[in-house]
């Protein structure tokens, strides 16, 4: 009996090790390929910078009004640039049949999801890390506040958790470029609302009691959608 338990424990540990190794392998592969090609990051970055530049000239605002629109402009920029990245990230897998290569590996398929989601989050965070100082300069607003950075992390996490799952679905379709935004934006509306409200709260110096409900919504949404993706990814990618 004791031997059976030890064997079962060893099997579980080996399974967990293989799972983490597969997640790490997917992240390593995505980052290595992107470091070399820079296709995805450059597209996301140029798009994001253009959006904030256009908003800067389109909205000739006083300092107070700029503060009030900042959270909205930021999240519109992140959401649209993120869609570009999500589409490209899965298109790379589909174009040369590499998605089949991933699905043929003898690992739990949710490891592929988590690997892709972590890579997508890394790409989004890199873009955000460049966009924030540029925005601060253009709009003369200090965005480097710990609370705001936490909201950006939580919002991006939820966006990527949903986006990676839906991009895996959309990539199977011939109309994937238009299908992803149509599928994604209705589902991430709660994340975007919560992120905009929480970001706006931090920028306007609101009380924590006003910000906390939005932060809680972000956290709950992140957990729920990560769990859903973990459960359904296998079915989404299989014929």
């Amino acid at each position: 009996m004791a031997t059976d338990e030890i064997n079962a424990t060893k099997t579980r540990q080996a399974g967990a090790t293989n799972f983490l190794r597969a997640v790490g392998a997917v992240v390593w592969k995505d980052l290595s390929a992107e470091l070399r090609s820079r296709e995805l990051l450059s597209a996301m970055l140029v798009f994001a910078l253009l959006v904030i530049l256009i908003f800067n000239f389109a909205l000739e605002l006083d300092l107070q009004t700029r503060r009030s629109v900042t959270s909205g402009v930021l999240w519109v920029t992140f959401a649209f640039a993120g869609t570009l990245g999500l589409n490209r990230s899965m298109a790379v897998e589909k174009d040369r049949g590499c998605l089949d290569g991933l699905l043929l590996a003898p690992v739990d398929r949710s490891a592929i999801y988590f690997g892709k989601a972590i890579s997508n989050l890394a790409f989004m965070m890199i873009v955000e890390a460049i966009v924030l100082p540029v925005y601060s300069l253009l709009y003369n607003i200090n965005l480097f506040q710990p609370g705001l950075l936490l909201v950006i992390l939580l919002g991006s996490l939820g966006y990527v958790a949903v986006g990676t799952l839906l991009a895996s679905m959309a990539v199977q379709s011939r109309t994937r470029d238009v299908l992803l935004p149509i599928l994604l934006f209705p589902v991430v509306v709660p994340i975007l609302i919560a992120a905009v409200k929480a970001s706006g709260g931090y920028l306007s110096g609101a009380e924590m009691s006003e910000i906390m409900p939005w932060l809680n919504l972000l956290i709950v949404y992140d957990v729920i959608f990560t769990a859903i993706a973990f459960m359904v990814f296998d079915y989404v990618v299989e014929e």
């Binding site: 790490g24 392998a25 390929a33 040369r96 590499c98 043929l104 003898p106 690992v107």
Partner: protein
């Protein structure tokens, strides 16, 4: 090694495989031949666990699909007409990635062996996007044998290859098949199939219409056998 009973696959209202029965033993090289739309690729995608059967039983190396898919995938190597390789990674990086996904032990040494096997050792640090189609296909075979699988599935591996690349691929295929592995290959190239396979199965309208071993068929009779099977 491979055992398939009464396999049915439907896509909506369209039935692609209609109660297909199939068996392949260790060491057998089965050429699965048939016209376009016969269901060859669908059958191979089910064997490789990329697609679920609608009805029927599929067992590979004693493990059932789809319930024991991970155990099956650990024993499978799959090569299709697409290379399943990343153009922005080098040959070595591609193999390293797949080696990690398959938890291959002594990965550095194994990558060297595989690159030698497929004749790409001198190009190990070159980006795959700069490889010719033939080189990509050889590396795809290297990727498929990296974890030393018992069963190899080839789906139209010669698609898009010129004569030289096809001859080179013949040599690699023989070398891969000659290690007691079970090999199933779909192809439209009867001459190549006759040269390589030990058994020929003709797939027509979602069922095996005829089957014969190389010994029973003799040399130079595959075309007649193929035509008769489709006519019948």
């Amino acid at each position: 090694m491979i055992e398939v009973r009464k396999l049915v696959k439907r896509f909506g209202l369209k039935t692609v495989l209609r109660g297909l029965d199939f068996q392949a033993q260790p060491g057998e090289f089965v050429a699965l031949l048939g016209p376009n739309g016969a269901g060859k690729t669908t059958f191979l995608r089910i064997l490789s666990s990329l697609s679920r059967p609608s009805i029927g039983e599929v067992r590979i190396a004693g493990f059932q699909l789809p319930s024991q898919a991970a155990a099956v995938r650990n024993r499978l190597g799959v090569v299709s007409h697409q290379p399943l390789l990343y153009g922005d990674l080098t040959a070595e990086e591609n193999l390293r990635f797949y080696g990690r996904m398959y938890s291959v032990e002594n990965l550095d040494a194994r990558i060297g062996e595989v690159l030698e096997l497929v004749g790409l050792e001198p190009r190990r640090r070159d980006l795959v996007r700069n490889f010719s189609r033939g080189m990509q296909q050889r590396l795809a075979i290297g990727r498929a044998v990296l974890h030393d699988p018992d069963v190899m599935l080839f789906d139209e591996p010669y698609t898009g290859l010129d004569q030289d690349a096809s001859s080179m691929l013949d040599d690699v295929l023989r070398s891969v098949a000659g290690k007691g592995r079970t090999v199933v290959m779909t192809s439209h190239d009867l001459a190549r199939a006759e040269d390589l396979a030990t058994r020929f199965d003709i797939l027509s309208r979602g069922m095996i219409a005829a089957s014969s071993s190389r010994a029973d068929l003799g040399t130079g009779n595959l075309l007649t056998f193929y035509k008769n099977a489709l006519a019948g």
